[in-house]
């Protein structure tokens, strides 16, 4: 790797990882609203570095809203607003002075349905780097694309057809392309919103294996409906449920093995044993 590429990489993660204490990102007393409707109530959720944190819970309890508050994607919904803090690198990302575009560059996202751009596989990866000010040569960009695709365990399958459309891939490959696209801009945190819900079991298994590998370098937060998945891949689990006003709140949070073997809360036990939800 030569100089320009290194500059680009370091400029993307300028702040050192130690500036936010021990956590990668941390929600403190966070309330999220859609208009006057309270979707998430008083959540305090610290996310450990380079670990996988799973958010589980019944439908409509605000899991996705919670996840999207970590990179201000809720800003795209006109009626959405929040109270409380989301601390990232020692700063509340909801502060008026914080640019959401900058936040999203550091905190990438993978969506429920694979959504590659209708461009070539190569362009899907290179675009994120380009718009974020990549100034390297063509060969450096090629290098970045290759490493991103390798990190997403997709390189061997697509190396001979980089100029084909990203939409020509299968669903599982498309989702891994989306992961490669997200890691090409070297984020600190990757948010995954039910990344396997549209995939078959084999593709799901590949993504789960990939997540374990990626956790060596990245902090991952995943929303999932699939409790086996949470139990298989995550290090920490946050169980959300909702109160009588349909506002979601954090019922229990802990190490995954503890949540799935000795849950402290009766409700958590009922949910993970399939008695409701």
């Amino acid at each position: 790797m030569n100089l320009t590429l290194q500059n680009f990489m370091s400029s993307i993660s300028t702040e050192s990882p130690s500036s936010n204490g021990k956590y990668a990102i941390e929600a403190r007393n966070l309330n999220l609203y859609y208009g006057s409707f309270m979707a998430v109530k008083n959540v305090t959720l610290p996310i450990e570095r380079q670990k996988i944190t799973a958010i589980i819970g019944p439908s409509g309890c605000g899991k996705t809203t919670m996840l999207r508050s970590f990179n201000r994607m809720n800003d795209l919904v006109p009626s959405a607003h929040s109270e409380g803090e989301v601390l990232f690198m020692g700063q509340n990302i909801n502060d008026p002075g914080v640019d959401p575009v900058e936040v999203r560059r550091h905190i990438g996202m993978v969506f429920q349905k694979p959504n590659p751009f209708p461009k070539s596989i190569y362009e899907n990866i290179a675009w994120g780097a380009r718009i974020n000010g990549f100034r390297g040569s063509k060969s450096e960009l090629d290098d970045l694309v290759e490493r991103s695709l390798r990190s997403a365990a997709l390189w061997d399958e697509v190396k001979d057809k980089l100029q084909q459309s990203g939409l020509s891939l299968s669903g599982g490959q498309q989702q891994r392309l989306c992961i490669a696209r997200a890691i090409a801009v070297k984020p600190d945190i990757i948010l995954m919103d039910e990344p396997c819900s549209a995939l078959d079991p084999i593709a799901t298994l590949k993504i789960e294996e990939l997540m374990r590998v990626l956790a060596k370098d990245y902090t991952i937060i995943i929303v999932t409906h699939n409790m086996q998945q949470a139990a298989r891949v995550s290090d920490f689990t946050a169980f959300f449920t909702m109160d009588e006003d349909r506002a979601g709140y954090l019922k229990e949070f802990g190490v995954t093995t503890q949540i799935f073997t000795y849950p402290h809360e009766k409700l958590t036990e009922d949910y993970i044993t399939g008695r409701f939800g």
């Binding site: 575009v101 969506f111 349905k113 751009f117 994120g128 801009v185």
Partner: protein
């Protein structure tokens, strides 16, 4: 289903609340299918009737009488078609008055005119053919013998010829007062100039407004009011836009639309702002609401997941719009623009108000020229009482249809090129 009944006998296995009305339901579907087919067929018949009408007038027999026999013009044995330019000028000099000859020379010196132009002048000024009767295409084919007999009896001096009014000469000749010599070049170029200016202004403005309304504008009262008004504007009668164009472009902005601000007023008659620029701008505001509405539809159809993916990578709003929303919406935007431009090409009323010229024989050379357009030309020709004006009107309609088809084909090709780049 009751126990004990035969499961294969479906009509009897239904319980009492479920009547077997399948034949009736099939009959209803069949009737609706018939209704839809009939509507399609009526549409096709109407179109076919229109085409029949036009073609019927474009071709057919005509009876021509000449004031002067062309063979009497020259002493030599050469027919008039093969004379040189100098010989033709001599004929012209001998046969028309000196004053008329000088006037022609003043309009454009003879040494600058081509041989074909002089040849046409000889026909117009000396030979003076006169169309006595015209027959439709169908009559010409079915009643050929009858026509020949009638003509031989009623017009012994005249010649019966089969004429196609739509010829290459018709397209490359400017307007003239005699249908036999008239062409649509002036009107065709006028239409092309006007449409070019319309697209130049309406397309960027319309797409820009569509992007703003879809991607940037919030749903507050003012924006909703703007949206409602744009939707209503698309339905305003075109003559109203003509009056608006007259007030704004011809009257208020006269120094600009006449070219005076650049010092390029072409001749005193265009100093009043009745120029191609005024016409193009008027048509631009006429089609602007259509382009905005169609553009908005196209932008709305871009899946939101693309925008989210883009924002999720740290793209700004502009990067998202430019790299993802617009490329995906452009086929739809182009389709909408095709429809809007097709409408603009056919517009007559607003241009009459803005001041299209009724009779000009000089081609437009700049946005500040006087102009006429194809629909205006057709309208004027159909309003004439003589039969042969109807024939050239029909020929001009065909030219207009071909122009429309050509523009649409170009836009479809463009659209397909963009669509291929996406998938």
């Amino acid at each position: 289903m009751k126990h004990g009944s035969n499961p294969t006998d479906m009509s009897k296995s239904n319980d009492s609340q479920m009547v077997n009305n399948l034949p009736q339901r099939h009959r209803i579907s069949w009737i609706w299918r018939l209704v839809f087919q009939v509507s399609t067929i009526v549409g096709i018949i109407t179109l076919a009737a229109l085409l029949y009408n036009i073609l019927n007038s474009t071709f057919g027999y005509i009876v021509i009488e000449t004031k002067v026999d062309p063979t009497s013009l020259t002493s030599s044995s050469l027919p008039v078609e093969e004379l040189t330019k100098e010989q033709l000028i001599t004929i012209l000099k001998e046969r028309i008055s000196q004053g008329a000859f000088r006037t022609l020379d003043r309009q454009m010196p003879f040494d600058k005119r081509t041989r074909d132009e002089v040849y046409n002048l000889v026909w117009e000024r000396v030979i003076k053919p006169d169309v006595k009767v015209t027959y439709s295409l169908v009559d010409s084919i079915i009643h050929k013998a009858d026509i020949e007999a009638t003509v031989a009896k009623d017009y012994p001096q005249a010649k019966l010829v089969f004429r196609s009014w739509l010829t290459p000469r018709f397209i490359t000749t400017p307007q003239a007062s005699v249908p036999l010599f008239a062409g649509v070049q002036t009107a065709l170029l006028g239409s092309l100039w006007t449409i070019a200016i319309t697209i130049l202004f309406a397309f960027p403005l319309g797409v820009g407004a569509a992007i703003y309304l879809e991607e940037y504008a919030s749903g507050n009262f003012i924006n909703r009011a703007i949206q409602t008004n744009i939707n209503n504007l698309a339905g305003v009668p075109s003559i109203i836009y003509g009056m608006l164009g007259l007030a704004i472009f011809v009257r208020s902005l006269e120094p600009i639309t006449s070219g005076a601000f650049l010092g390029v007023v072409e001749d005193p008659t265009t100093a009043n702002g009745r120029t191609i620029l005024s016409a193009g701008l008027t048509l631009a505001i006429l089609v602007l609401p259509l382009i905005i509405i169609n553009g908005q539809e196209a932008i709305r159809a871009v899946p939101n997941s693309l925008r989210q993916a883009s924002y999720g990578l740290g793209a700004t709003k502009w990067q998202t719009v430019w790299h993802h929303v617009l490329p995906n919406a452009i086929p739809g935007i182009l389709t909408g623009t095709i429809l809007a431009v097709s409408r603009a090409i056919g517009e007559t009323a607003p241009l009459v108000v803005v001041g299209a010229s009724t009779f000009i024989t000089f081609n437009p050379t700049s946005p500040f020229s006087k102009f006429t357009t194809l629909p205006i030309q057709i309208y004027q020709w159909t309003a004439r009482p003589q039969d042969d004006f109807r024939n050239i009107a029909a020929a001009a309609i065909i030219v207009l249809l071909i122009l429309l088809l050509a523009l649409n084909a170009t836009a479809i090709l463009l659209r397909n090129r963009y669509s291929r780049g996406l998938a």
